[in-house]
Symmetry: C2
Subunit: 423 residues, 2 copies
């Protein structure tokens, strides 16, 4: 079992996949751009992104389960309904979530219309996403003024400008892409994501855009996304706050030229699903490692669980615990807090069989056996916890299922960032 | 509706109740003591408490729902089972939770035996509680060495020594007591509690000991406790971590001499329940205000909800949100985070009817109507948020039920305290 996570998984165990540059532009026929339109007073920081496919895309999506939904969400849902799951472009802004505003949907529709006009599309072919402060009126005139130059600047290597535009408190861009073969055809799948707070996904996470040139139906693409999101973004928690604007979009334009994939029994379907799992898994770890204020990536693997749901619930409970997150920041082997968090996980299992190890590149130490503490060297523990990637290895010893969740430590900087987020 | 909470409620609306000194010693026949036995290397800090009644007590209890249970919990449960809900004494220590230790129950039993021997009781008449670091072996010899002097020092005004002994990261003692009449008989009910982290109760909270000299059956006392805990401690969250050692004990020795209360239809039962609600409510607010690292008491009132459970779930979701807690620390009126937290509360209601105001002793400001933001003065908002007691007033506008939850802001000091808690 792999217990030393790094932001990008080794492809050694994923035969036939190769990392490639380009993020959302890695796939054929996708252009992107990003710029500062004035939503962000820092003129150096992009705040508006456009993603465009030269041909129509089968499109899959998952959204936040928060009852409060950013205005872009119903608009995007409606457009995908109207087109039967097809799209051509996405417009996305940061700095303003366009959420809890009485005029929110009208503004989100206008964003689509502006992009459609500039691109020669119909508005329902354009999807929309926003991230930033909730409850402030979106200054749409900034977007109106910038749309022409945004569209004119679309380019096959504009992924970095776009990835930069969707960043909020992120400290690094999150992009990942792979190439792979479907039969004899070389395909690509790549994506970008933004973090890094209000992240406790439930059916989706944050803003996340993935493109592929594989040819696949919207229904199958949705099937793959819905499956993969369960073990990637939905196993991520930065702070336990489920965002109002979470959205993952996957767009497939088929320009690779493979024969259309239309059945989950087609072996090529599994290859596409695996590509999605690799890219979404990597983006998940990048999001965790760059969580607001984070200094350490925290991974919890839960194995020998009665079922996968239990494994995931337990793993998420551990990486969500504020007390344990603080202890990890302090590099304090306070494993009792791991047991505490396992104990209040809402799942059905026996606590007195549980084993816990703390693991990093610097070693592994047993801290708990059968639910009780075992003596360990504080010196060794301190060495292990000095790594910036810590794994808590939990074994329930009552089944065969596994689950993994990702998070980060809780630091002074999280408090600082969020004490005055709106300014 | 009262929207300016203070740690102690006004008794104006509670006719017949008067605040009194004495905490757990306010009731007749209860003696207490506390001292440093050496669990805490700081010799100035008490770490061992003893509470004793000169006559047997009807006893009610609620415990944590964490699957990991501190060893004192099964021991206390067993003793109450064996005595049919009667007890005479409680021994409690801080600095070590005696949890996740293979020898935990044996040590907890020994604590009871030591106290019983010193007091001339049988061990099952003694209840036991521990709080502190999880997963470290309890150095029982420290308790053995101190028990004689602890028992010898029991006194009718020993409540402060005892309250000091159960404190962990608390910055102030938490005690509260009232006197009231049952017919012509003057009775007392008082308690002490410890905070101030790992607090997200579920059927109980933290360590909490309440005594009364009213005469009431164990069954009725349990009935009152189970009801009151739902709207007091179970509506408190410091950090979302449900402790392994939560326990509330209520002991009633009947020494006031009132006629025995044996029916919930007896009007005197309601008076006792009200006394319990006042004292537990006050202790709840004290715990919230002294949450780890807290600078502000945060209260969320949720009204016009379809039912009480929904009201409480919504109120708890707001006061638990790390993002909103940080904003309150920063005195930033980021009300969008309130809506976000209301939106992910797991309850069934319509979000587009929700109104939110921010309230303190310095005024009230409307920030949201019908789920959308309304313009407000940032200057007025900043003034309101400069108070150390902030209320978020949420109105769902879809029913008649209400609920209130208490918490605190999330600060640098929370991270600092918990980055290195074990040392």
């Amino acid at each position: 079992m792999k217990v030393f996570p790094s932001s990008t998984v080794s492809l050694a165990e994923h035969e036939g996949f190769t990392y490639t540059e380009g993020g959302v532009c890695a796939a054929e026929g996708f252009l992107a751009n990003g710029l500062n339109c004035g939503l962000n007073p820092d003129k150096e920081k992009n705040d508006l992104a456009l993603l465009y496919s030269t041909t129509p895309c089968a499109t899959a999506a998952v959204y936040t389960t928060n009852k409060v939904q950013g205005a872009p969400i119903p608009v995007t849902k409606r457009h995908l309904d109207e087109t039967g799951g097809m799209s051509r472009a996405v417009i996305a802004n940061s700095k303003n979530a366009n959420t809890c505003n009485a005029d929110g949907e009208a503004k989100a529709e206008e964003m689509c219309r502006l992009a459609a006009d500039a691109l020669g599309l119909s508005p329902e072919e354009v999807l929309v996403a926003s991230t930033g402060v909730i409850g402030q009126i979106l200054p749409i005139e900034a977007i109106r003024g910038a749309i022409a130059s945004l569209a004119a600047g679309l380019k096959p290597d504009g992924n970095k400008e776009a990835a930069y535009a969707i960043m909020t408190t992120d400290t690094v861009k999150k992009e990942n892409a792979v190439s792979f073969r479907l039969g004899d055809t070389v395909c690509h799948l790549g994506g970008m994501a933004k973090g890094s707070g209000m992240i406790h996904p439930n059916m989706a996470t944050t803003l996340n855009f993935i493109t592929t040139d594989a040819a696949i139906s919207p229904e199958l693409l949705q099937c793959a996304l819905s499956k993969v999101v369960k073990t990637t973004y939905n196993c991520l928690s930065i702070d336990g706050d489920t965002s109002t604007n979470d959205m993952v979009l996957v767009m497939a334009n088929g320009q690779a030229g493979n024969e259309f994939v239309t059945s989950t029994r087609d072996p090529r379907y599994l290859v596409i699903e695996q590509a999605l799992a690799i890219v979404m898994g990597n983006l998940t770890r990048m999001l965790a490692k760059d969580g607001e204020g984070a200094t350490k990536l925290l991974t919890c693997t839960c194995s020998s669980a009665p079922d996968e749901d239990t494994a995931i619930i337990v793993a998420k409970s551990v990486i969500r615990s504020p007390l344990f997150k603080c202890a990890i920041f302090g590099e304090d082997a306070n494993w009792g807090r791991v047991l505490c968090a396992i104990g209040y996980a809402e799942a059905d299992f026996a606590i007195d069989k549980v084993d816990v190890d703390l693991v990093s590149e610097f070693g592994r130490i047993a801290v708990c056996r059968n639910g009780s503490g075992v003596p360990f060297s504080e010196e060794t523990a301190a060495k292990i916890l000095s790594s910036d990637e810590i794994t808590v290895d939990v074994r329930l010893n009552q089944g065969k299922a596994t689950g993994t969740a990702w998070g980060c430590d809780l630091t002074y900087d999280y408090v600082k960032i969020n004490g005055d987020y709106r300014s």
